[in-house]
């Protein structure tokens, strides 16, 4: 993948939505924002081994629901990047979406298009994540933590933090009190030092996922092409959500397969975290658990799930990086999300 043009945007968005694992925000909002520019859209996608020396990582923080109600004006991400560049005195040479899952990648695409910077074919999660401190680059080494946010109400903040956890909690508090969501930029960061800690090939993967879902005859075939499987299907009979300030887990949902009678249960936070079928563990983070409308294959986010939905549950393997080092796995296994279970090793179909 060397270029994203109008013809790839649809697949990229669809793939990102699947990789969002039920979180990451709705891609449609930014897809609408892209539409007027589609004709001229031509964003370079560079491999991580390319010529860029520095990159800036971007995403959106806060409530994706509020983001739907107060859509971005388009200035927030460029202003956040400008803010970190001004503060550090360095220029970013490429853009990396902090997470591939959900709407972030389209934000990064808009930013790249507006600034003329290339996108790196990478992200820092391989799916969607609720917390900044979970990004892969923080797992193994100390990273310069200069970040900026521009909230939906126009407030800009530049912050030099000492730890990712502090960065996360401070920004989370600020966003909650100013507008509900914010554009976030981190960097510029040296690519050479962090190359091994990035999830490589994420943009390509998203397009691949989007294409497979759209083009294969059956969802099973699409899952097989992507190295995953359809782990459960059926009608949702039970959805229970509760506020839980301590842990990530906010709800549980059960579905019953009318054909086999199998009862599957999803534990969910802002993403789908853990899947059991008939009480037997079937899939877990860091792998991707995606719930799609059984008829349209449109992904259903964790907050959209309702009793009566007829769904297929897709399990796709995580980015290999997460299982390559215990330091990575400990930031992405179910325990990190408050589900007291080990990560389930993927079973290939």
């Amino acid at each position: 993948m060397s270029m994203i043009t109008a013809s790839e945007v649809g697949s990229l968005a669809a793939g990102a939505a699947i990789l969002g694992s039920g979180g990451g925000g709705q891609v449609d909002i930014l897809l609408s924002a892209l539409r007027p520019r589609l004709d001229q859209l031509a964003v370079r996608v560079e491999p991580t081994t390319g010529t860029s020396r520095t990159f800036v990582s971007v995403t959106f923080l806060g409530s994706t629901t509020v983001l739907g109600e107060k859509p971005p004006g388009g200035f927030e991400l460029p202003e956040a990047v400008e803010a970190v560049e001004r503060w550090t005195g360095e220029n970013a040479e490429a853009v990396v979406p902090a997470q591939i899952g959900g709407m972030t990648v389209l934000g990064a695409l808009l930013l790249a298009d507006a600034t003329g910077l290339p996108l790196l074919d990478a992200d820092m999660v391989g799916r969607a994540t609720p917390r900044l401190d979970q990004l892969s680059i923080f797992a193994r080494r100390k990273v310069p933590l200069t970040a900026a946010i521009v909230t939906s109400s126009g407030l800009s903040m530049v912050i030099d933090a000492t730890s990712p956890v502090e960065l996360e909690s401070t920004l989370r508090g600020a966003v909650a009190r100013s507008g509900g969501w914010a554009a976030f930029a981190l960097g510029p960061l040296p690519l050479d030092a962090l190359r091994a800690d990035l999830v490589d090939g994420s943009i390509t993967r998203a397009v691949e996922v989007g294409k497979a879902i759209a083009e294969q005859d059956t969802l099973e075939a699409a899952a097989a092409v992507l190295g995953g499987r359809v782990a459960a299907r059926g009608r949702i009979v039970e959805v229970e959500r509760h506020d839980d300030p301590v842990s990530f887990v906010h709800g549980t949902a059960a579905l019953i397969d009318a054909k086999t009678g199998a009862v599957a249960r999803l534990e969910m936070g802002s993403e789908y975290l853990y899947l059991t079928v008939d009480g037997s563990p079937s899939a877990s983070v860091p792998d991707i658990i995606s719930v799609v409308n059984a008829r349209t294959r449109a992904p259903l986010s964790a907050d959209q799930l309702r009793t009566g939905n007829d769904v297929d549950v897709l399990a796709l393997p995580s980015a290999p990086l997460w299982r390559s080092d215990p330091a990575f796995l400990s930031r992405s296994d179910p325990r990190f999300y408050g589900v007291s279970a080990d990560a389930i090793m993927p079973t290939r179909p």
């Binding site: 009979v237 039970e238 059960a254 059991t276 008939d278 009480g279």
Partner: protein, 510 residues
């Protein structure tokens, strides 16, 4: 030892448990109590016999952890999981569906610890429930006062089962239990032994009954029903009922003593009235008034003679209440066999009143039939103390007649009898009836003709012409038939004494 879930749920200690899903027929063989979260408990389950798993800690969320527990439980052959959960937490349809898929019954209990102890006691066949129930029965009996009703009520509360007091034949004296004929037969047969009885009933329960001895009068039974598969519970209840039986017997004996004392005073008062003649001595009249008798009124006497063994003192209340239920406020006094009773009126009752009273007495008799089959005689309306004695005398005569009158429903009311009929009725005794039958037997064999002719001949004052007119036959025919009668019976119809005997005999058989 095994027990069905449905029956376990009927235990007093588990009545508040709620079966959320699952088959009430599920059989449980052992009980396993486990503390901790579902996650912590899951790895502690190993395969065994059909198990009831009791979660000691409340379940706050029915989520993946509980699903995993269900799976592990089904592999370990757990057939039911009992748990408590906060009021706001509901078991969702997903959890229910999975439990059904694994055939695990879910049981919401208010107190897991208590539930565990109850289940364990029932299934482990320990002596603990027996001892516990007996102790409870003894404590309740000690606390209760001298009254039977209070004693029974305390025992019910202590044991957690509704109790019934049955008479020796298995009829209900107190409580709701109604026994079928076969159960009553068993109780009647076991009444002499003094041992408790445990019977399987058609309703799928054990009928547990313990004899209640008073030392005087017939035995009674203290009974209740216990779910069929709960052997330990049934044994415990049996022991508890035996213990309770002593206390109940004591109360019954107290009540009986009081009844007998009252009966004696009633009987002696009536005897004195009978002996006193007219006028009633003032001292006796005063005692009668103190006893609540109205002497200066109009009376109708009744005599009730049971047609089987009956205890006049014990059954007086039944008689009294049966009459009361028909609107008859009788005074009754126990006799050697049966009772005398009377109704008193301020003013002389009208003929219609007497008739409706008579009808009400018959209804009462019918109502009592299944328990106390009796012959009843009713006297005529008489005034004053002397009248009462006279009416009672008539009633006694009528009752004696009634004994031999099944066709009249063992009921004779003097008012409906002419004096002559009464006289005739006296011929219907055990000795005269067979004699009459014997006397006229030869005529039976020739058809009814001869007997009819003889009857009309005697009724018409030995007139052949009159008889022929009545029968619409020629008088020679009548003469011929009478000749046959004389030949067959070997009698002479011209003899007045023979005619009298034959006349009585034809009347008796008619």
């Amino acid at each position: 030892m095994t027990a069905r879930l449905e029956e376990l749920l009927a235990l007093p200690g588990l009545r508040e448990a709620r079966l959320i899903t699952g088959d009430p027929d599920t059989t449980v063989e052992r009980v396993l109590g486990r503390a901790g979260t579902p996650r912590a408990i899951s790895p502690m389950l190993f395969e065994g016999p059909a198990t009831a798993l009791v979660l000691m800690d409340p379940v706050n969320r029915f989520d993946t952890e509980f699903d995993i527990l269900l799976r592990r439980a089904s592999q370990a052959h757990v057939v039911t999981i009992a748990f408590a959960s906060p009021a706001a937490v509901e078991v969702g349809p997903g959890t229910t569906a999975l439990a059904n898929r694994f055939r695990i019954a879910l049981l919401a209990v208010p107190e897991p610890w208590e539930a565990s102890v109850q289940l364990h006691d029932q299934i482990a066949a320990s002596e603990a429930p027996v001892v516990q129930l007996i102790t409870r029965a003894a404590a309740a009996a000690l606390d209760a006062g001298p009254h039977l009703a209070e004693t029974l009520q305390r025992l019910e509360t202590a044991l957690g089962y509704p109790l019934s007091l049955l008479d020796a034949a298995g009829y209900t004296l107190e409580g709701d239990a109604t026994l079928d004929d076969s159960a009553r037969a068993v109780l009647t047969a076991s009444a002499a032994g003094g041992l408790p009885v445990q019977l399987a009933t058609a309703a799928g329960t054990w009928l547990v009954a313990a004899p209640v001895g008073t030392g005087i009068g017939p035995r009674a039974w203290l009974a209740t029903s216990v779910p069929r598969s709960l052997a330990a519970e049934a044994a415990g209840i049996s022991g508890a009922l035996q213990t309770a039986g002593v206390a109940v017997g004591h109360r019954l004996a107290l009540a009986r003593l009081a009844d007998e004392r009252d009966a004696r005073s009633r009987t002696s008062l009536l005897d004195e009235l009978r002996a006193a003649g007219s006028p009633t001595p003032p001292e006796l009249a005063q005692r009668a008034i103190r006893a609540g008798l109205r002497l200066d009124a109009w009376h109708i006497g009744l005599r009730i003679i049971p047609r089987g063994p009956a205890d006049p003192i014990a059954m007086r209340r039944d008689i009294q209440s049966a009459f009361e239920s028909q609107g008859l406020n009788i005074r009754s006094v126990e006799e050697e066999t049966g009772w005398v009773a009377w109704l008193s009126y301020e003013t002389e009752p009208a003929v219609t009143d007497v008739r409706s009273t008579s009808a009400a007495v018959r209804r009462t008799q019918a109502q009592l039939r299944s328990r106390i089959p009796a012959s009843i005689g009713v006297g005529s309306v008489q005034a004053g103390a002397l009248g009462l004695v006279r009416s009672l005398g008539e009633a006694a005569d009528a009752a004696r007649l009634a004994i031999n009158r099944p066709e009249a429903g063992y009921f004779v009311h003097i008012d409906t009898l002419g004096l002559a009929q009464l006289l005739l009725a006296w011929t219907q005794t055990d000795t005269f009836l067979p004699a009459a039958r014997e006397l006229l037997a030869p005529l039976d064999r020739t058809g009814g003709e001869l007997l009819t002719t003889l009857g009309h001949y005697l009724d018409s004052g030995a007139s052949i012409a009159e008889t022929a007119a009545i029968l619409d036959v020629h008088r020679n025919t009548v003469a011929n038939r009478l000749a046959q009668v004389q030949r067959l019976l070997g009698v002479d119809l011209t003899d007045p004494e023979t005619r009298l005997a034959l006349h009585l005999a034809t009347r008796t058989l008619r």
